[in-house]
Subunit: 471 residues, 2 copies
């Protein structure tokens, strides 16, 4: 067995104080505390091949005050704390390599306020992106960040998530206005007020966005909202080559077309979609695009995009502006994450996540595809190409030690290739346990600065230890 | 004399090591070091009423390596370091209350690279915004952030500056992709790579943007660029009341009009403009607006904006799409900062800078205007109203102790009013020396977290001491 799936649930002996903490949690909050193996296991990583590592107990928080109490207790006994939203992270962020207490925020799922006039809302960290969008629909507003999974907004903030809409609306970095977080010393911090901009002091919001629970537990998030566009047009367009598809995305961005979404699926991914989603798309590199605006501006965007696509050999467009048709048209893209498994039943999947300057994107994808072939590996490619971000979902046989090693070596070469191209080893998944090894190459002395900040805020290393940093 | 203009050049005795540092600087870099009083005085604050506080010497850096050497020398002797770009900050950021060495970066004015395909460029910190835009013009690109003064891009990053274009393009927070900075221990940190997004580790870029030289010296900046819009339309529109003008700006934003600029000038400011810029505008609250896009989308934006303006009693529009005419139309707005002095020759001016959620903007301006009147104070208002940010330029007689006190009390009430409205004491000027007192009200425990980060990175407090924090 190549994958260390038989690894122990945690890589260290229990912290001595953990029994004391669990006893206290069970006594004070019996209905919110669980040490059941099934519950603990459910809170470990299962979405990707990283071995699951269970916490010693799970605490279901119902308020910021709850989180504060539990963190003070854990801090007093130096017991690790692992924040948990919906468990949809893919880099092992929710694993508990040193045991400890997982704080599950999913019961903190109240929308606290919506200020429609200001285009802002404040939610508890456990509210999911679909839930907030349901809540906002009647008001004609929406929150655009869509990482695929129905993740919690606290988790999305902690991971600096983005997804298909980022090319137009930015990532969680641009769309979180303020946070409430409990720090490891039990202090409750509100990072900013609700103004659209401020130059008052250090940017605590952006410090916590992307910190993956290693600095504090996010309990509330204030978000920037947008009016639902008057008109939305969606399209699917096949291309003769990956290069052509990439260059159309790049060309459209350089021409100032405000693309709302521009997604690349390679021929393998289209084949998977055709099987899984029962579509009949030509099995060739394909762009899925979406345009937002007034009817006239959408028409104009579409016309300009068509011109650029045609110049690069783009084939027959399928268009739609009606909601049901749009959904149907985009179904294949929405199912991409689930569909790739049909290409190799029984295989495990690893999700890579590099992001490079868009001028290097076509080259990076081409070299990467060749690298796959050269090493006898197999995996479809899906890309948020407007951002220079793409995923190779390598499908591998977990029982084949050699293939497992080739997959890992490939992933490493891919991460380093992106870094050499002035890009990043992770565009939107975060570091978790899986990308730790590349941060030194990506940041150099900056990594020491990150460690310095971590040590200053969490000197006992109780906040999600073993994530971002090796320990 | 009410203003402590007779205050000593610095508020503390020279650091014992400063003589050693100056001797070493003079020996190693004779042409880059000055202790001349005129040079030192030129590097102290003179733009606002805060008393100038000179450094002990000024060092003119020519490279990141220079900055590193000088910082290592200063660190060894615990001598304060004050970074200086163009000296256009307005909250005393360049003052040297504890003496020390000012590092002037204006000679580091090289554009290092422009990646037109990626819409990025990298510049040395001393490059100014006008310089980079001159450089980019032939390529059809521009950098939108316009704080009024021709500030250096390093200084703009350090202050988290914004200005008239922020409503459309964001602030320095959104438009700095990466930075190179020298930290107080002499480490050179590159905060990020050039990809459009990343979720790798802590957001060091955003930690340094807005840190006002208190954590390190920014020596290079990588910026996000934009294509020069195909069509630009500018307009000036008078309104019967401030309230009406504010509500049009808010209404347009809520309706999704992608305004590139929306500036409010009150009737006093218009009077000042008429005198200073020899315009003949109606002396009533007026919006200056600008629209960017394709010709068709600009037409559409203009039509929608006109409809909203008309609903609120907007008067005769003056429009222009031709460059020279646009400049002429906007001349009054561009001259606003200089023109207000004509309203009260000999007076000093204080620039306030609050920013509130836009739903509270009209109310905040109205109450503030009443407060001015109630306390016998006088000052025009200019606002970046799309962001909820406005400046009251209080004109006061520096020889009148009572008026000086009323001005200071007014400024304090204004800052606290904004904070109570869930806004900030400073939208774009930074904290410097002038807004320190309000951070506790604005951030609560968050201020302790900022101090913790400051202590961790700069334990000897040599980086621009007396800014953001009281010492």
């Amino acid at each position: 067995m190549a994958i260390p799936a038989a690894a122990p649930a945690k890589i260290a002996e229990p912290t001595p104080g953990v029994a004391t903490v669990i006893a206290e949690l069970t006594a004070r909050w019996p209905s919110q505390t669980s040490t059941a193996t099934a519950v603990r296991d459910h809170h470990a990583n299962h979405l990707t091949w990283y071995p699951p590592q269970m916490p010693d107990a799970v605490f279901f928080a119902s308020s910021t005050a709850d989180v504060q109490s539990v963190m003070q207790l854990c801090a007093a006994h130096r017991v690790p704390i692992i924040p948990y939203g919906t468990g949809t992270s893919v880099e092992g962020q929710i694993n508990a390599p040193f045991g400890g207490i997982t704080i599950d925020l999913s019961r903190m799922n109240a929308v606290l306020s919506v200020e429609a006039e200001d285009l802002t809302c404040t939610v508890q960290a456990g509210v999911t992106r679909k839930q907030i969008n349901e809540h906002l629909r009647d008001k004609g507003l929406f929150f655009p960040i869509d990482p695929g999974a129905d993740a919690s907004l606290g988790g999305m903030a902690a991971t600096r998530a983005s997804g298909t809409n980022a090319v137009r609306y930015g990532t969680m970095r641009e769309n979180v206005i303020a946070l409430t977080a409990v720090m490891p010393d039990g202090t409750i911090v509100r990072t900013a007020r609700r103004a659209r901009k401020s130059s008052a002091g250090y940017d605590l919001t952006r410090l916590l966005v992307g910190s993956e629970g290693t600095l504090g537990v996010i309990t509330q998030v204030t978000l920037r909202l947008y009016g639902i566009p008057e008109s939305i047009a969606a399209a699917v367009c096949p291309f003769p080559t990956l290069d052509a598809a990439c260059n159309v995305a790049i060309g459209a961005i350089q021409a100032g077309v405000p693309l709302a979404r521009v997604e690349l699926l390679d021929e393998l991914q289209i084949r998977a979609c055709n099987i899984y989603s029962k579509t009949a798309l030509a099995e060739t590199p394909t762009l899925f695009v979406e345009f937002h605006g007034t009817p006239a501006s959408v028409d104009e965007q579409v016309a300009l995009f068509k011109t650029i696509a045609k110049e690069h050999g783009g084939g027959d467009f399928q268009w739609s502006t009606r909601p049901e048709e749009r959904s149907k048209l985009w179904q294949a893209r929405h199912d991409a994450a689930y569909s790739c498994m049909v290409l190799r039943p029984g295989a495990k999947v690893t999700a890579t996540d590099v992001c490079v300057p868009i001028s290097r994107l076509a080259e990076c994808i081409a070299v990467t595809k060749q690298d796959l072939a050269d090493h006898g590996l197999f995996g479809p490619i899906v890309g948020h190409v407007g951002d220079g971000n793409f995923h190779v979902a390598v499908l591998f046989n977990p029982g084949d030690a050699d293939e497992f090693k080739r997959m890992k070596d490939f992933s490493e070469r891919l991460a380093m290739r992106a870094i050499v191209m002035d890009g990043t080893c992770t565009g939107e998944h975060g570091v978790g346990q899986g990308k730790i090894a590349y941060l030194s190459a990506e940041f150099g002395a900056g990594l020491d600065l990150m460690r310095q900040i971590k040590r200053s805020i969490d000197p006992d290393n109780i906040m999600n230890p073993g994530k971002i940093f090796s320990a």
